[in-house]
Structures are given as structure tokens and as C-alpha cells.
Symmetry: D3
């Protein structure tokens, strides 16, 4: 019997029904202000994942042991942020309704807003843990309030003060840094303070949305992204941080901002795949 | 006296007041559905133009002999097509009001709509001559009516039947080709019929907006574009066609869809510069 | 209902049962002697095909009107040509047994041998029409008789004299050209003589295997291949030749030697997709 | 009012009169012996700087708070090192005469010599702090004494022993290392000893020319340079060292050896921009 | 007198007779399962080595002081692993017979097996020190037992338990890690334990074959390889480890898995050259 | 017996004594005003030539039948045009003295001047046939009289009027075109008039220096060059023209301006190799 060509992230071959985690891709980058191409991130990760092993020697766990369903990429409207966000939110809600964890593959960082809207509806006491080089806290960007540069500000509109926990931030306007110091749990440059934040979130049993902008990594480790920022964290530091965060009650997550057109050596895509593998293994433990 | 760094397309150093043609760039590609990057087209052309001579041996004319002002790139909002189009339209109107010819550098092809709106307001009997690989006649694209794939359809909404003259078209949905055969002056694949079209437009003294999607060129001559389509015209054929069109009463024009990120050898940018030089020399004759 | 991520060549979404043509990919390039990477050809074509329209204005036909099933890529053993060829042959036989036309996507040109073995078993009076820059008629290459440089010679071992019709050949050892002049129907450089060859094959109602090495195209049109050879045919000439060949009784076919790693602008992959679309539409007419 | 296209490094929009620092670019690489292209460094930095924020969270300072004038690139003669150096020297003198700090953007490292000649004329007790992977202390290179490989040796001809302070050096001929140990304040491999050197220079209130060859960075952080040398310093170490050096009396500076043609991911250009921003903010404190 | 063009790795210009070390290249990558191109590694290293100094400031030694002969690349059969391995083994034996140390430049890692067979014949008590990101301990890969993914397993077939010392390993199937823990001296992730291993090998005066898969380096330092694995060691750590290993009795060695087609910035080739220089200087001390 | 690694252009393995043609490379591009890198042209051609067959089906001749010696690349001083030209002239004279034909591989076009000086000394009635996109007839370029943009003007200084025959020229200042029309045998754009020129040169038995700037080819066929100019000739037209010119008494020749760094697909290097093969076969007939 000859079968059609099903392409999933490696080892994510569970059925929807059996799965505890559902991958969904948001190939969108219309508001990217510098170098576009993050739209191709999720399909590149799926495609190049066959160069990755399913086994993690870091966690001594294997993707073959867990149950993940890959629902592929949404077909999103380019040029209308609101329409794209609605489609993302709708898919996230379907997944949540089936009591599975939605794991979004971006795309530019704005896509997070669609997912957060859905998760926040289900978990009004939601916290967000945010790894990123950029604060993403502008109120608008050249007039647009739905922009990758504003996405955490829009999340703040929903969640309010002290519910967003930011790490690795090393770029933004002065106003964003000032806003962060007043309104978010702000940890610039690296992961200092992460363990304490996680301890507190565990204590209050907070539901957590975990968003990883891959440009939190140093450009030496992850050059393939639209706005690289020197001075980031190493892969091993990120890996350690992911395992720390996974001790909280994660109810939604995303990995975003891989731009394969800028990843000429393929190293960034391979690293993104490895981050996703480790994230999947950590949150299903 | 040390001067600041003014960067113009080579030879376009006239003042605004003296100029008969004004260049303006629209670094926008948010609705691009396949491979983005046309936003960088106008700045790349300006930047790489210093590898080009100002003299054209084809026309025995020199950019130093004519008067062109380069107003640089507009600062456009990514993620909102309507806001971007309004800014383009506004700039075109300013130029038209000063009785100069607005020459737009794209950007994706949707930017043409902003310019056409401005030119059509001044010249209600406007015709459009359109060189392109793609018909761009969809009524909507994944729900968006303001999309590069719909731009000539939106122009048709303004101008009505038989006022759009299309050449080189070799890609589209069946419905677009059917629409074209009923509603536009349609010449697929190459420049067959161009001379007759031009003769007729000269007879009726029609004002003409001339839009060149550089992907009308064969990908061998112009690989650096988002959606290359094999089977296009040669550079020399395009050059000849530009000189033919320049016999009409051109009141506005654009050159678009160079995507420098895809132009790894630099050949496409160099060719785009040469097309622009020849266009400037032809329309000012 | 959320579905898994099925990825096919655009418009090839028929079920196996309904299909008249079945695509199968052979991601193999182990014997490539110069620059490898053709292994990634079939998946790149599938992946990038979404930048292509399903409608052909050249033939006024649409992939949506025909029935093609895409069975994805075989999982082939690298480093053993014989094992890889057996797997290809096996898949071709399955398709032939179901009375469907097997259309192979390479991979390096050696993969053709697996398909030809299967087709030849069913059609002992088989002819081969071969478009290629290279004669591929060596008896061995550095000791290996199963090499891309020998593949038509191995086909000749099966079919014998005057059953292989070669076009566009412009590279090889002197001995290969001498062999060709004695043993094949040999048309160097271009498509001269193709119409007559096709007329004769139609007269004798010969079953035809049609193998297209995409490097028959000029490198200007198709740079993304392991061994580019200046002086090839244009895309439009190839398109015309495909439609001519499609008048014969084609019982198997392949398209090979796209090397996406060398296709930095993406133009070659886009062109390969367009060749495949036109081939599918022509052979199902 | 439509203005012409002025392009400066981001945030460097002061007038010449008001500025305390003046940027000038030297797009020259004619003596580069390995891989050329540093000529495009200054324009690439200017062009890509719009992807950078003007605010530095490291120093809590903003380019909008200081006064820098960007005079663009000199038009230098390729093929004659002496003519190019004279033009650089002339520009540096103009800037020094107006009592502003000349900050040169290279170009290959030889351009430093033009600037040092001008600064040395004004400050005969000049010291040089030199960050580089390469010693650049050859007496000649294939017969040329004006070569990037000789530039610090030529500076030594002017300044004499113990006035050149070298850091990060990890490549050179044995003779260069021997010369360095006898004639310069030599700190191979990293920044060991920098604090003490700076303390001594502060004590004697020495005027300092600060030259940063960006290849002092490890190639993982800065691949886009002609002669990458594994084993360099990290971005954060460089940032720290820049702030240390800025405690001295800096009277001239340069940043050189970015080769954008080799920076396919754009990471090196982005990093060079960030180095320049931090340097500007540090020296104007 | 005009001489022909002899191209060697820089400074390796000794005659065969005088040499104590002989370089030989194995341009083979037919079993590479992910991204091929390692075949071009040895010639790229030779070609780009002229950008490297012959002097090492790390060891204060110079290639001009030692005697190395570069015998160029073998002409290997693509598509037949066994034939290629025989040719490699034959060349290694010739070199060993002349009492010189064979230093192989790969190519994919499978080439090591040819060299180890030759060295093992001469030194039956051979140990292997193995630096690699991948365990390479599969018993077969898609049916092939001669595969890059199996090469250390094949070496284990020869040498047996506890004679293979593995470092930096961070990727493999669970079964490979289990095999390693039972059958090899296994040090995952980094160089922990290397000093002790070396001390023991010195004590027993074991002859050592030293194989360096360059992907042991972190992808930030070495992106140009077929299967990059985040989380590797730094260049300086590798340099230190090489000097440690060189205290043992090294009787054969190789450096492999540079894939120049993936090394768009040239940094990986430059780093591979530097690794080879340091290795040559260390083992001849 | 193990031999060192001799690397020649494929099939050019004759000894100096036996050879009738001697290749010599001039890896120089210091005066290139736009994009450098032609310095790597000759070594890239040598290196990539192993992807080419030695047999030409166009001429039914084989490099194995003729006697060519490849003397490798000169070691030229970067940054001093005059020193580089002297070294080239010296080598050309050595070859001429041995009554062999010097065939120079550039490098930028200025290198031709060194060879022409040598050939002109031996043949004072020398003519030059010049294929190029650019006139190269400036009297100086930014003050330099030894520049690629002036090279034919410098040759005119030696030879005087009507001894330089220019073809394919399509770029230059107005003054260059005016100079050409008065002082050279000038054929812009293509090869019109070549047959007549050749007939006349045969009649007067003129010794001919034949210089091919590969950018005479259209950028679609030859993108890998510093200053590509749309509107050039095809490979087959160039091949035909070479065979026409080879009917004259060629006493020196060169092929120049391949810039491998810009040849990302490798197509330009492959084409340059094919041009050289055909030139070698044509001039030795």
C-alpha cells in the first residue's frame, strides 16, 4: 500500500486524539520591520528535522516515548495582521478545547498574541515567561499597534502588571526599558533570577504561557533570524533555562523568529529543531 | 566644507524644483505571498547604482543631461496595506501637484495602486501599460483584496474595461486569464501587439501610467525576485519595449519587485538599475 | 477536525486509487562525481511548488483537472547503488502493476536505471527518449559501472541499439560520442530531429520511457545542478519538446538532477516545478 | 517639502558644526592579500544601522543624546595606497582642525595609517591602543611597505617603542611576535593587562588613538571579515574593553575590516553597528 | 625556470623521503545521510591554507621547522564504499611502510575506517581517541554497515571493548549511547576525563589513532559541516585537548567532516586549517 | 611512489619544454572599482576544471591531443599596480623567449597591459582583438592611469590608432565611446563585423593579441563577475567568435574577470573553464 507524503517534525507522528501536545505553524511575518522571512520557519524546522535524532542525551528521553501531533501550517492572510491573529487564536482554541497543549511554531513574534488570547481566555490567571533579545514593549510601531515590536505590550494589555516575566532582553527603546522596569518582571541580558521566578510561579501554581524568541540566543549560535543582537545566551544556557521553566505548569508555548532565508549554513534551523525537541521532552516529563 | 552623506540613484542629483522626474521609493512587501524581500529593492538600486555608467550607448543619452530628483524611501507601516497605500498616494500627489512625473520604485507590486490612485485623480482618462509575468487580476487572495496578486484588478475597479494593456503575462489562475481576455487588452507571454497598442494610445493622446514588474524578464536575466517565472523576455526585448512605450504620454511610472536578498550575484540589482536608467532617459526625451 | 501535514507537489492530491500518474521521489546522489546534492531535488520541488500556479497558460490546462498521486520520497540507502536501485525498481513495479504511470523525481541520473528496469520488464519493446547535457554512456567511471556517468550505457545493455534517442548532448568523452554515433539515435546540442523521431515512434506505437536531465537546459535558465554545461536549450524550447514527446505512448518518465543546495536564488527549483507541471499536463492529455 | 535622501549611521544626524565626533568612511581594500571586500564596510554599516536601536541598555545612554556628524565615504583611488592615504589624512586633519574627534570607518586596516599621521601631527605624544587578531607588524609584504600587514609597523616608525599597546593578537609571523615583544606593549590572545595599561595612560594623560580591527572578535561572533582567526574574544568582552579604553583621552579612533560580501547572514554587519554605537556612547561620556 | 603548479597545505613542502608526517586526502562522502559535500574538505583546506600563518603563537612553533609531505587527494570511486576504503587503506599502508605518520584529511567520517584498518594491522594493540558530536556507533544505517553513522562501531569490531575513547559526543540513538556506556571509554558532551585517559594511555605506551570529527566543535565555531549539533566545544578547548592527546604515542590521525559548500563565510575552512596546523605542530614535538 | 599534489587546468599536463602554449595566472584585482574578487579567478578555474571533459564536441578535439603547460599563479604585490604589471610582463617575456604562446588568466582586466607590453616588444606590428562589455578607454580613473577602466587606453598609447578591434562593448562614459569611434575599430553590443576584421587581419598577416573579458557574455550566462552588464552575447555566440578569431595569427591571449566569490552557483567558473578549453583547442589547431 503506497501512502501519501505526510511530513511532520521528526518523531511527532501521534494521531490528534492520542496526542498530549499539538504543534501548529503560523507562517506569518508581515509586520517584520527589518529583514523578513520568519514565515518559512515552521516548514523549515519540519523539513530539516530529519537531520536530528529523536533521542536527547541531555534528558535521556526520546520523542518516540511521547505523543505529539503535528497539524502543519495554517494558511494565513498576508497583509492583514488581525485576520492572521484570528486564525491562530481559532486553532489554539480548538487544541485547548481538546485538552491538549498548543505549541505554536512562528513566524514573527506577533503570532504569539493569537495564541495568548486563546490561552488567556481559558486561564485568566495566566503568566507569561518570555525569552527574547528584544523587549517588544512598544505601544505602536510606525502607527501599527499589531506589530512584532509591540507583542508583549499587547499581552500586557490583557494580563496587566507583573504577570509577564522577561529574560535575556538586550535591545529596545529607552521607553521600553522604562516600561519594563515598572510593569513586568524584568531580567535584562541573561537568565539571572529565573530560578526564583520559577519557584514563585510553582508556589502559586500559576498557568504559564512560555514564549521563546530564538533571537535570545547569541547570533554566533543562531544567526538565522531577522534582527540578530550580539551579546546573547548560549545554546546550553537556553537548554538549562528551558528545563527550569518546564517545572512550572505550562499550558501553552511557542518557538519563533527562525528566518531560514538568512540561515545559509543551516545551523540555525538545526538548532531551532534541537530547541523544539528539548522543549517537547521537557514539558511532557 | 564637509557635507553630509546624500545617497541618490546615480546621476539623479537635481533639486526638487528643477527636476522634471521625481523618484520615490516604497519599501513595502507585506502582502507578498511567496518569498518576501522586495522592500529592499529601492535602497539596493540606489546603493548599487554607482556600478552603472550614467551614459546609455543604446540611446546615446546621459543621466547628466536630464533633471531627476531622488526623494529617497517613504517610511511605511508594515502590516497595514491601506496605511502604506495612503502614504504612497500622498507622496505621488505632492509630486503631481508640482507638475513633475512621479516614478515609484517598489517594493511589491501592490504599491502601484497607491500611485495609480493619485495619477487617476489627476488624469481620469488614464490608461495603464503593464509588463509582468503575473496577471495580478485576482479579486482577492486568501481573503485580502489589497494584495500584490490583486493589484491590477483593483486598478481595473478604477479604470474599467480596456484601459489596462497587459504584456508578457505567463502565470495566473485560469479565472485571471479568462478575466483578462474579457476586460483588459491582453497580450500573454511577450510583447506581441505592443506597437499597435502604442500607436492607438498616441492617436487618442491618452495619459499613460507605465508599470514594470521586473519579473516580466526571464529568470535567467533577473533571478532576484520573489516569484520567478521561466519563459520571460530578454533584457534587450524589454529595453526595446520601454522605448516603444515612451512614445506615449507617460504621466506616471514604476519599477518594482526586485528582491535583493534573492539576488546573490548582484546581477538582478545591476539589471534593475540599467532598466531604470533607460526608462528615465526614454521618458525624458 | 485537525489534519496532519500532508505535503504533495501542488495539485497532486488525488488518492492512489483514482490517480493515473504516481509521483515517487528518489533522494539519491551517492555516485555523483562532481558536486552532490541532487538528493534534495524531489523534496525541494514538492516544497517550493506552492509558489507555482496549477494552471498552465501554455496548454490551457490545470493540474486540478487531472489525477496525480504523490507518494513522497523513498528512503534509500546511501553508499550502496545496487540497494537503492532495487528499492526504486520495486516502487516502480508496484505503480505499474496498478496500471498507473510511474513518474520518478531524482536524485542523480543513475536513479533512472531502477525505473527503466521495471518499465522494461513490462514493456520489452521499450524505447527511451533522453534529454541531457551529458551522454552518460561510459562503460565505467573510476571502476564503478553503476554511476550517473554510465546510466544510459546500462540502459543500452538492456535495450540494445537504436532504442535510445538522445537530444541536447554536449558533453562527454570522445569515446562516448563515438559510441553514441554507432549505437544510439544521437542528436547532439539541441532538439534537431525530435519531430521525426517522435513521428517514427508513433508509427510503430512504441512504448516510451521519457527521461529529462534538467541540465539539458542552459545554465542561465537552470544553474542549480551538479555539472552545469554552457550552451544548452532554453526553457521554452524544452517546453515545446516535452509537448512533442508527449504525442508518443509514454509509459514511464522521470525528471532529475535538480541540486537545490546550488540553487541559491531558487530559480532552478521554480523552473523544475514548472517543467514537472507542464510534463504532467502534457502526458495526461 | 520633499527632501533628498540623506543616509547616515543611525542617530548620527547632527550638523558638522554642532558635532563633537565626525564619522568618515574609507572604502579601501587594495592591499588586502587574502579575501577583499572591506571597502564595502562603511556603507554597509550605515545602511544596516536602521536595524539597530539608538539606545544602549549596557550604558543606559542613547545616540539621540549625543552629537555625531556622518560625512559619508571618501572617494578613494583604488590601486594607489599612497594617494588613498593622503586623502584620508587630509580629511582627518580637517576634522581635527575643527576640534572634533575623527572616527574612521574602514576599509582594510591600512587606512588607519592615514588617520594616525594626521592625529600624530597634532598630538606628538600620541599612544595607540590596538585591538586585532593580527600583529600587522611586518616590515613589508611581498615588497609593499604600505600594506594592511604592515600598518602598525608604519605607526611604530612614527611613534617609536612602547607607544603602541596591542591586545588580542593571535596571528603573525614569528618575526612579528618577536618584534612585538621588544617594541610594543604586547598582550597576545585577549585583554589581559588592559586595565593596567589604561591606568598608566590616564596617569600620564596621554592622547590615545584607538584602532579596533573587528577580527579581534572570534569568528563565531564576527565571521564577515577577510582573514578570520579562530580563538578570539567575545562581543561582551570587547564591549567591556571598549568601555575601559574610553576612560583614556581618546583623540581619534577607527573601526575596520568588516567585509560585507563575506557576511551572508548579516550578523557581522549588525555586530559592527553595535560596536560602533557602544564606542560612540563610551567616548562621548 | 618555470615550474608547474604544486599545491600543498601551507608549509607542508617537504619531500616524501624527508617527511615524518604524510598528508593524504580522501574526498569521499557517498554514505553521508543528511547534507553531503565533505568530499571537498581536503582540497578546500589545501587551497585556503594560504590565508593562514605557518607560525603558531600558541605553541611557539612553525610549520617551516617540521617536515610534512602533502600527497594530495586520492581518486576515489563514488558509490562504492568498499572500493573507496580499500584505496584509503592501501595509501595508509604505503605511508606506514615508510615509517611515516599517515594523516588523513576527510571526507566523511567513514574514511577513518580505511586508515584504522591499515594502522591496526601494524599496531594490533591500537587505541582510538575519538572527538565527535556523534557517537557513530550504529550497527547499520538503513541497511548499510559501511556508513559514516557506523564507523566507530566497525572500528570496535576490530579493536574490541575499552580501546575506543570517545569525547564530546552529544548525538545518537538511545541504543548508541547504551552501547557506548558498555563498550567504549565514553565521555559525552565535552572533554571531561581526557587528561586521565591520556595518562593511562601513556602509562601503557599504547599506540593511538587520533580521529577528529570537526563537528565536535560548536556550530558557532564550525558551521560548515553536514550535521551540525548545537552544544559543542570551543576552538580553544579543542586546541587544548589536541595538545593533551599529543602526549600519547600517536601513530595515525585524521581530521574530517569539513563541508566547504556549507561554509559560506569561509570561517569553517579557516578553522579547519588552523586545527590541522596545531595538530601537525603538536604531534611532531 | 607517492607524488606531490600538482594542480593544473584539466588536461594541461605537458612539460614546459614540450608545450606550445603556457598558462600563467595573475591573481590581481587591486584597481577594481566596484566589486573585487577577480584575483581568485585563475585558481578557481584550475580547481573546478575537473568537472569539465577534456573533449570538445564542438570542435571534435581533445586537450589530451595538444601540449599545454600550466605554470600556476604569479605571486603579485597587492596595492602596487606597477609592480604587479612588471611581474606579469617578465613572465610573459620568459614564455615568448621560449617561442611559446603566453595565455594569461586574470585577474582584473588591467593585467592584460603587462602581457601586451611583452608581446608588443616582440611584435611591434601587433593588433589587439578585444571582447568586453566595457570600453576600458578612460584616460584615468579617479586619478589613476593604471586602472582596469583604462587598460585599452594604455594599450592604445602603445599601438596607436586602428590597431585595437573592440567587440560587444555596451558600457562606458560618453567620452570613451567618442574616443572609440575615432581611434579604434569599434563594434558595440555584439560581434557584427568580426568576420570582416578577421579577414583583413589575415590578409596583412598581423600578429594578434586576443583578450577576452568574460563580462562580454550576458550576465545570465556569466553572473560571476565584478561589473555585470545586461545585454551581452550568449555562450554559443562567444564560442563561434573565438573560432573565427583563431583563424588569425594569435601570438598572445588572455581570459579575465571571473570573480568566483560572486559565482555562488558555480556556473560562471564552469563556463570560464569551457571558454578556456575551446580557446586552447581553437588556437592550437
Amino acid at each position: 500500500m503506497i501512502r501519501p507524503n505526510v511530513e511532520t517534525f521528526i518523531g511527532c507522528e501521534s494521531s490528534f486524539e492520542e496526542a498530549s501536545v499539538v504543534l501548529y505553524g503560523a507562517p506569518f511575518d508581515s509586520t517584520t520591520s527589518f529583514r523578513p522571512g520568519a514565515r518559512f520557519g515552521p516548514s523549515a524546522m519540519r523539513h530539516e528535522s530529519f537531520g536530528l535524532e529523536t533521542y536527547s542525551p541531555y534528558q535521556d528521553r526520546d520523542l518516540m516515548d511521547i505523543r505529539v501531533f503535528d497539524s502543519g501550517d495554517l494558511e494565513l492572510c498576508f497583509g492583514s495582521s488581525e485576520m492572521a491573529l484570528l486564525d491562530i487564536e481559532k486553532r489554539a482554541k480548538e487544541i485547548l478545547k481538546a485538552d491538549k497543549l498548543p505549541l505554536l511554531l512562528g513566524g514573527e513574534h506577533l503570532v504569539t498574541l493569537g495564541a495568548v488570547r486563546a490561552v488567556f481566555e481559558k486561564y485568566p490567571d495566566l503568566h507569561i515567561i518570555h525569552f527574547d533579545a528584544h523587549a517588544d514593549l512598544r505601544d505602536d510601531y510606525l502607527g501599527a499597534r499589531l506589530s512584532h515590536a509591540c507583542v508583549l505590550r499587547r499581552c500586557h494589555d490583557l494580563l496587566g502588571d507583573n504577570r509577564i516575566h522577561q529574560f535575556c532582553i538586550r535591545s529596545g527603546e529607552r521607553e521600553e526599558f522604562q516600561f519594563a522596569r515598572s510593569h513586568t518582571d524584568f531580567h535584562p541580558f541573561a537568565f539571572d533570577g529565573l530560578k526564583e521566578t520559577v519557584r514563585e510561579l510553582k508556589e502559586i501554581k500559576a498557568p504559564v504561557y512560555f514564549t521563546i524568541d530564538l533571537d535570545c540566543l547569541d547570533p554566533s549560535a543562531f544567526p538565522g533570524t531577522g534582527t540578530p543582537e550580539a551579546g546573547g545566551v548560549s545554546f546550553l544556557a537556553l537548554l538549562d533555562a528551558i528545563r527550569t521553566v518546564s517545572q512550572t505548569n505550562i499550558v501553552g508555548a511557542d518557538v519563533n523568529e527562525l528566518a531560514p532565508m538568512l540561515d545559509v549554513s543551516g545551523v540555525s534551523t538545526a538548532t531551532a529543531c534541537k530547541v523544539l525537541r528539548e522543549l517537547l521532552l521537557a514539558i511532557t516529563e
